[in-house]
Symmetry: C2
Subunit: 398 residues, 2 copies
């Protein structure tokens, strides 16, 4: 192996890279780390020492056994700080203090009205953060990052909602800027549906690199994961499948100005309107689901039909994107059999066999918590990215 | 700054990382490299020495001037070996010996018949490689990698065409396995359309992270770039937009077994058939283009109509994917005004304003050479990936 001027091998891994080997399960002892990283003993010892000093690694001594002393085990310390996360839908919000493994230590859900000004809504979230920090006995010095999800496209690099049609005052509002008055930690913002997709993939579909997470409820949207990363597109507008045209429905006007959009045909409002016209009492996707669960056959049919319509559009997305899995979330995922039957029927009938051969399909397992978990994953992966860990090591040593 | 056991800073960049700083223009002198990399002088000197030994870097001494001796300039050596590339369409093949900047030193185009067995076609390519190596005076020890494009989806990790409908014998055939009998260099294989997209993005659209490259000709396909990487999907089947359904054409049967597929309606065969039925002589997309260029109004109309139909499907892909640019290639891109007018008309009329606000659109600038350039880019980026450069440094030093 080549040694450089100081007698060290070239191309070495930093502390962040070493942490990654532990986090992803590649190595749990110093021996395994040395083997996996190619680092010399002394360099590795140094990297591990830095990570222990930052509390990102923990060392558990080997327990004496008959056959001699086993090596100490190194594990990632999920308790090395917390992240604060809030996931906002249009009427609901979920807030949590989470450890660094995206497991909430405390969480709370409450009603919000997203048409209120951002300062009003964010102040409520800030107050809830404070309560949850207090209830978990967490000091402000433990906060590593803040992650926020909003029901709108987001200019990710700026943390600003864009084209937030039903959210007056939010368009171009800097969410990181607002939090900067109260916290020192970095603030990342993404759309609700992207975070749901990320949360679900991280929790239950880690072996799937290319995944679509589709919400079917009041609105119909899609979170896209490509190469394990959220694909936001050029302007954060990717995944807007609710405004793809559904063949044969050109007479249905959509609020976006076009005709025949998927959401205008089978979004929550449209489903509720159809059932209301038939004499049933329904004002939202949630009402339709409640009717279906109570056994109302017209509601069951409506949900299955919505699944079929979504499946028709998804069939095209599948031909284009060739995902490994499609996960359905949103209100209609609460009647999983009905909605999945419809989606499958349309997808199988319309997609190319190669694109559906091993396609996995299911409903969300995280349910309404998916976006909150995804917000935690987003900021944890940011904080623990090797280059950011390396920077933290350097700051700590200054 | 933290020093480790040997007195060196943590989290250091390897030789591959240093090379990247030079290649992407971040640094051209040792001073700039030290600043950008954060490496100590002695470590950096060592990294640079390794890269000079591998000939991947070149050093140009400063020229004495009145104000003292300027620092030596470090540049990437595009001549540090060659890559062999071949891009196969169904009837044409382009083969090149390229330097490490994807500039061919010698290239050749010739007719092939992709329905012949892979051994027959690949033997022709191998013979052409040998000729081109001879004509450029390149020894076999200079070959760093081989890149092949084929007109079919590819299982990228294995280098095998899949679902190669019109290519008997190619389905599941290991192209790297065939070349392994003749060359020691690594062999990467991808689909023709993916490589065209990659070549075009690398050559003319480097500032665009998310790009669609659409071929409009005998077949209609799409190469997808997400986060600057080729998005191949779960099984290499991504981008198969020719089989997305075009609204209002359910009566048109497609060879895939479905009805109303885009390619069945406006692919080369369909366009030629329409013109033939009108008494014109056309058998392929190329014939239609030739007629249009000769001023035949029905051919011009057909091309504009094809652009519109492609645009209708692209409008949906845009809502889904939010690309920063769409590039049209294939036969019909030889009448760029006509095809683009049609595409634009449909896209602007149908996509959401936010997704098209800054959307750039154009026809291929590399033309029929795009896939060959893309094949070179694919293998150059593989050979020069930091981890592979680090490995080469270590091998070289053994």
């Amino acid at each position: 192996m080549l040694k450089d001027a100081e007698g060290r091998e070239s191309g070495t891994l930093g502390a962040g890279g070493v942490l990654r080997l532990v986090r992803d399960g590649s190595a749990t002892t110093r021996n395994e780390l040395a083997e996996q990283s190619g680092l010399s003993r002394s360099t590795l010892a140094d990297r591990v020492q830095s990570l222990l000093a930052l509390e990102l690694l923990q060392e558990i001594s080997g327990v004496a056994s008959t056959g001699g002393r086993p090596p100490a085990t190194l594990t990632f310390n999920r308790g090395a700080g917390v992240v604060l996360v809030a996931d906002l839908d249009t009427t609901q919000c979920r807030v949590a203090v989470s450890n660094l493994a995206a497991s909430p230590l405390a969480e709370r859900a409450f009603a919000i009205d997203i048409t209120q000004p951002p300062e009003t809504v964010l102040a409520k979230i800030h107050a809830t953060f404070k309560e949850l920090l207090r209830s978990t006995g967490t000091g402000p010095d433990r906060i590593r990052a803040i992650g926020i999800g909003v029901p709108a496209p987001v200019a990710f690099s700026r943390g600003e909602p864009i084209d937030a049609r039903m959210m007056p005052g939010w368009d171009g509002f800097s969410i990181p800027g607002w939090f900067a008055d109260h916290y020192e930690a970095p603030v990342l913002v993404d759309s609700h549906v992207n975070l749901m997709g990320l949360g679900e993939q991280w929790s239950h579909w880690r072996d799937v690199d290319h995944l679509l997470f589709v919400t079917v409820g009041q609105s119909i949207e899609c979170g896209i994961i490509s190469h394990g990363l959220v694909h936001r597109g050029a302007h954060g507008a990717a995944g807007d499948i609710g405004h793809i045209r559904l063949a044969g429905h050109d007479h249905v006007a959509c609020r976006c100005g076009n005709n025949g959009c998927l959401e205008a045909v089978v979004g929550g409002e449209a489903l509720a309107a159809t059932l209301s016209a038939g004499g049933l009492s329904a004002g939202s996707a949630g009402d339709v689901v409640a009717l279906a669960r109570a056994g109302e056959p017209r509601a069951v049919q409506a949900i299955r039909g919505a699944g079929r319509a979504v499946g028709e559009v998804l069939a095209e997305c599948i031909n284009f994107f060739n995902p490994g899995a499609i996960i359905i979330g949103g209100d209609l995922s609460e009647t999983p059999q009905q909605v999945l039957a419809g989606v499958r029927e349309a997808v199988i009938g319309r997609s190319l066999p190669m694109a559906t051969r091993d396609l996995r399909m299911g409903c969300t397992r995280l349910g309404t918590r998916a976006g909150m978990i995804g917000a935690a994953v987003m900021v944890i992966e940011h904080v623990l990215a090797p280059e950011n860990v390396d920077r933290a090591v350097q700051r700590h040593a200054l």
